[in-house]
Symmetry: C2
Subunit: 251 residues, 2 copies
């Protein structure tokens, strides 16, 4: 069984944020990666558990969330293929949040053991992964500003900008469109809004011709406009080859 290709999304991601030598790439390919399919809304790791593995997302979309109080759900981050959303479980034993699938997804399970051994062999790879978790934290910081300081309209625009750019950086945008299988309730829980207000906010963005949105598909019609409404500055994504310029204004 050739498992090498399972490492490809991860390598693409790592190369998007740092240099990776052929030698290091070989180490990555040696990881034992076991594919596992997740159904929509299925959890991979639950808050409070102590997993012995991490997972790289191969296809679909994952999300991390907490339940801060009865019946509430706060979505903390959204993840695209190549992301390793629970790498922190390598050094933080107990999960302080849950990790689940938005859509039908496939993840690659990697034993912590293998990651530790890889880091022993190559400190550079460890530091690249470290860097990845730091970018993760930078995204959290923006998420704080989103839920804390921005209006519903600005927050929504900012979130869409972020997802669009991240999708683009891994080649998942075609003709200004990307798959975005979030329900309005998902948006609501991500932004700290009600689903009703999400509906109205998305409508405003559609009415002003900045985006098209049908459940499952986002199209950006006016990138510059959306950026401005969302007060979006892509620096924090720390993309090696920032492709914002390639997007232009979609006209």
């Amino acid at each position: 069984v050739t498992i090498n290709h399972l490492a490809d999304p991860m390598l693409r991601k790592l190369r998007a944020i740092a240099e990776v030598s052929a030698q290091d790439a070989a180490l990555v390919r040696k990881l034992r990666i076991t594919p596992k399919e997740l159904q929509p809304k299925e959890d991979l790791v639950k808050e409070g558990s102590r997993p012995g593995f991490s997972a790289v997302l191969l296809s679909g979309m994952l999300y991390r969330y907490q339940n801060p109080g009865e019946g509430k759900r706060q979505i903390l981050s959204l993840h695209l293929p190549g992301d390793i959303p629970d790498l922190q479980s390598l050094y933080l034993k107990t999960m302080d949040h849950s990790l689940g699938a938005i859509d039908k997804s496939v993840v690659g399970i990697i034993p912590h053991e293998d990651l530790r051994e890889m880091f022993q062999r190559s400190f550079h790879l460890a530091s690249v992964m470290w860097r990845d978790t730091l970018i993760d934290a930078a995204i959290f910081r923006q998420w704080i500003s989103n839920t804390g300081s921005r209006s519903a309209l600005a927050a929504m625009a900012h979130l869409l900008c972020e997802l669009y750019l991240r999708a683009q950086s891994i080649g998942l945008v075609e003709e200004a469109s990307m798959k975005l299988p979030l329900t309005q309730q998902d948006f609501a829980d991500a932004l700290g809004l009600s689903n009703v207000h999400v509906s109205r906010t998305l409508r405003r963005l559609r009415n002003s011709r900045m985006i098209e949105w049908k459940p499952g598909v986002l199209t950006v019609l006016d990138w510059n406009g959306l950026k401005e409404v969302g007060d979006f500055e892509p620096t924090y994504l720390h993309l090696a080859n920032n492709q914002a310029v390639l997007v232009s204004d979609g006209s």
Copy 2:
């Protein structure tokens, strides 16, 4: 000039979250740490800059913030002695936020070069520091839930719980009191509230006899009550020796 003792707050912090051997401690003491005094509201690092050093807080209190729009300020985190709030600048060149002093503070400046060399010599130390940045991210996640999902009262209670426990873990709580030099505007910018509402919210917590608060000093009168109001679960702080039990209900 003996600069060894400048490494003490950092060592205490590292030992609060992981084991540190005598050999590794010696490496930490070899770091060139230059003290620098900061005045209240003075910035150490500004958003957009590319610092060549990191800083360990020796005394006082630091905070990280962004400006998401004209005149707005979102406080992202608060830092106590021993913290290394801008360690991420080692791997993320451009600062996506600013770092400043709440109060008159002293930081120890550490060249990135020294940290890199230390990590080369001891992967264990690197992984402990990595772990520290991961705890940082865990705190960001809670901050998201705070600004996103919790009411003003719960968010305030949660923030006070966190700061109290963190202060306690490094020995800065005496007789249920800690120095907390935040203004109500600082609280407001941390929680995404107005200063007026912060005033009313703190009053409610005082009226229900959960805390005492005078500008500069917080006293926790009813730890269990505060925990409950704030829906506070200390797991995410990943303190090695969780001292919550030592606090009891303050009665």
